[in-house]
C-alpha cells in the first residue's frame, strides 16, 4: 500500500468507527446548525443525516430548550472549555424512545452529554461536538437503589401491624422534638394510651381478633391526628402520640375525642363483635424534663392514674397529685 492509499484507508476506518460507535455524535456550527449526525443519532431518531444537515438544532428538536442549551454551549465556543450535562439535571437531550423491550424499563433513553470545542486551523472555535451517551441502565439502577433504600428505611422505622412508627424510630423522633422543645419553649404534649384489659380480648376472642383490635385502633389514631403529630406503637397494646405545638388542654380535647371514638366503636371479626376502651395520660413539656425519658415517665404516671381510677378516661400530668378529667 502506498502512503496515500494507507491514509485513505485509515480515514475510511475512522469514518466507519464514528458511524458505528454506540455513542451519539453531533457537530454544530456557530448558529447551532447540524453539520454531522452519526449512525447512533440516525438509528435512534429515525432521521437520516441529509434530513437534518444544516437544520437548526432548536427548531428541529423541541425537547432541547434553547436558553438552557446555549448556557451550556456558549462557554465551549467562547472559552474553549468542555461542558457536561448529566441525566440528574435533565433526563435526556434528545427524546429517544426506549428500544429494548426486555431490559429497558424506562420510557425514554436517559442521556449524559459532553460538549467539546472543535478548533479550526486558525485556532478559533467555529464548531462544537455534542457527544450523547446512553446511561439508561445507570439511571434505572440508581433509581432502583434509591427506591430500595427508601423501602428499607420505611421497614426499619415502621411497626408492621399498625403501620405507625415502631418504638425505636418513634423514640428517635421524640428525642429530636424534646431537644427542639428545650430550645423553642413551644408547648408540645405527649399522649400515652393503652387498651383496657387487652389480655381479656386476646384470651376471649383469640390473638387474631386482638391483632384486629390493635389494627383498627391504629387506623383511628391515623384519622384523628394531624400530619405533623408523631405516632408510634410503644409496646404491645400501648401507643404514644406527640402532639406538636399543643398545650395540655388542647391535647386533652384531642385525647377525649379519640377516647369517645373508641368507646363508640365495635370491631367486627368473623364470629364476634368486640367493644373495648382506652385509658390515656397526657404530659405537656416542662423544663423539668431534662431528659426525654423524664417526659415519657410523666405521661406514663398520668396513664397509670387513669388506670387506677377506673379506666376509659384521660389524665393530665401535674406536678401536684394528678387528677382525672
Amino acid at each position: 500500500m502506498t502512503k496515500a492509499s494507507f491514509e485513505f484507508a485509515e480515514m475510511h476506518w475512522l469514518m466507519d468507527v464514528l458511524q458505528s460507535i454506540d455513542v451519539g455524535l453531533v457537530i454544530l456550527d456557530r448558529d447551532y446548525k447540524i453539520q454531522l449526525w452519526n449512525g447512533f443519532m440516525e438509528n435512534h431518531s429515525g432521521l437520516r443525516p441529509d434530513d437534518v444537515h444544516d437544520k437548526p438544532l432548536f427548531g428541529s428538536f423541541s425537547e432541547i430548550p434553547e436558553t438552557w442549551f446555549r448556557q451550556k454551549a456558549e462557554p465551549v465556543f467562547e472559552l474553549k472549555t468542555r461542558t457536561f450535562t448529566i441525566w440528574e439535571q435533565r433526563p435526556y437531550l434528545f427524546k429517544f424512545k426506549n428500544y429494548r423491550p426486555i431490559t429497558g424499563r424506562a420510557a425514554n433513553m436517559f442521556q449524559n452529554s459532553t460538549i467539546i470545542p472543535l478548533e479550526s486551523i486558525d485556532g478559533s472555535v467555529k464548531h462544537i461536538c455534542l457527544i450523547i451517551y446512553d446511561v439508561t441502565d445507570i439511571a434505572i439502577n440508581k433509581e432502583d437503589l434509591t427506591k430500595a433504600n427508601g423501602n428499607l428505611a420505611y421497614l426499619s422505622q415502621t411497626d408492621s401491624l399498625t403501620e405507625l412508627f415502631n418504638r425505636g424510630h418513634w423514640e428517635e423522633e421524640f428525642q429530636r422534638e424534646h431537644k427542639r422543645c428545650i430550645r423553642s419553649k413551644n408547648p408540645s404534649s405527649l399522649v400515652m394510651f393503652d387498651i383496657d384489659h387487652f389480655k381479656n380480648v386476646n384470651d376471649t376472642y383469640g390473638h387474631p381478633a386482638g391483632d384486629e383490635v390493635i389494627r383498627t385502633l391504629a387506623s383511628i389514631v391515623r384519622q384523628t391526628v394531624r400530619e405533623t403529630d408523631i405516632c408510634g406503637r410503644y409496646g404491645g397494646e400501648e401507643f404514644t402520640i406527640l402532639l406538636i405545638d399543643t398545650d395540655a388542654q388542647s391535647a386533652a380535647l384531642f385525647t377525649e375525642r379519640l377516647r369517645k371514638k373508641v368507646d363508640d366503636l365495635i370491631v367486627k371479626t368473623d364470629n364476634h363483635d368486640i367493644k373495648f376502651t382506652i385509658s390515656s395520660g397526657i404530659a405537656e413539656y416542662s423544663p423539668n424534663f431534662k431528659r426525654h425519658g423524664d417526659w415519657i415517665e410523666a405521661a406514663d404516671k398520668a396513664l397509670y392514674h387513669s388506670k387506677e381510677n377506673g379506666r376509659n378516661r384521660t389524665t393530665i400530668f401535674q406536678n401536684k397529685p394528678p387528677q382525672s378529667l
Binding site: 438552557w68 448556557q71 451550556k72 462557554p75 467562547e78 472559552l79 474553549k80 472549555t81 468542555r82 461542558t83 457536561f84 450535562t85 448529566i86 440528574e88 439535571q89 449524559n112 459532553t114 451517551y133
Partner: protein, 181 residues
C-alpha cells in the same frame, strides 16, 4: 488556576479573588481532614470529575457552600426556581467551567491533553464528612492542590481540590523536569 479564575471572571463578568493555592503531599487519612478544612460545619454541595492523560490522572472536587447559591443564581442569570434541581444546574454549569479550565490549564503547562470523565454529583445539602466514603482508598500518599475561589462583593465561596493518583506524582516530576531542561 489563574486561567480557571480568568475564565470564570470572563463568563460572569466579575472580579474573582484568587489566593495562592495550597499544594501539599497528603496521606489518605488526611483527605477527610483536608475536606473538613474547606468549610466549617456548613452544608455543602459537591461535584467530582476525573481526568487522565499521558500517565497522569486524578480527580477534581469542587465544594460549594450552600449559602452561595442565591448569589450564584444572580450572577449566572439563572431565572428558574432555586430548588434542588435549580441548584444542580448551577453546580454543573460552574463546575464545568472551573474544573474544565483548571484541568486544561494544567494540561497546557505540562503539554498534555487530558481526557475528562463525566462529572458526578457527590451530594447536595450535606455535611462535608458525608461527601466521601472514608477508608479503603487505594493510595497512601499523594499530591493535592487546593484552591479557594471567592468573588468580590458576593457571598460566593467555593473550593477546588485537585487530587492526583499516587502513580502520577513521579510522572509530573518527570514532565516538569523535561520542560525545565
Amino acid at each position: 488556576m489563574g486561567q480557571a479564575a480568568d475564565r470564570l471572571a470572563r463568563l460572569l463578568n466579575v472580579y474573582v479573588i484568587l489566593p495562592i493555592p495550597k499544594v501539599n503531599m497528603i496521606s489518605s487519612s488526611e483527605l477527610q481532614m483536608a475536606l473538613a478544612d474547606t468549610s466549617s460545619n456548613k452544608n455543602v454541595s459537591a461535584v467530582c470529575q476525573g481526568f487522565i492523560g499521558s500517565g497522569i490522572a486524578g480527580e477534581a472536587l469542587l465544594v460549594f457552600n450552600d449559602a452561595s447559591f442565591s448569589d450564584l443564581a444572580q450572577l449566572m442569570n439563572y431565572k428558574g426556581p432555586l430548588d434542588t434541581h435549580g441548584e444542580l444546574e448551577l453546580l454543573m454549569d460552574v463546575s464545568s467551567v472551573l474544573i474544565g479550565a483548571c484541568i486544561q490549564g494544567i494540561g497546557e503547562q505540562l503539554e498534555i491533553t487530558f481526557n475528562q470523565g463525566h462529572p458526578v454529583v457527590l451530594g447536595q445539602h450535606c455535611q462535608v464528612d458525608d461527601l466521601i466514603k472514608s477508608g479503603n482508598h487505594q493510595w497512601s500518599q499523594t499530591l493535592a492542590i487546593e484552591i479557594n475561589y471567592k468573588i468580590e462583593n458576593m457571598n460566593i465561596n467555593c473550593d477546588l481540590l485537585l487530587l492526583f493518583t499516587e502513580d502520577s506524582v513521579a510522572k509530573i516530576n518527570q514532565q516538569v523536569d523535561y520542560l525545565l531542561d
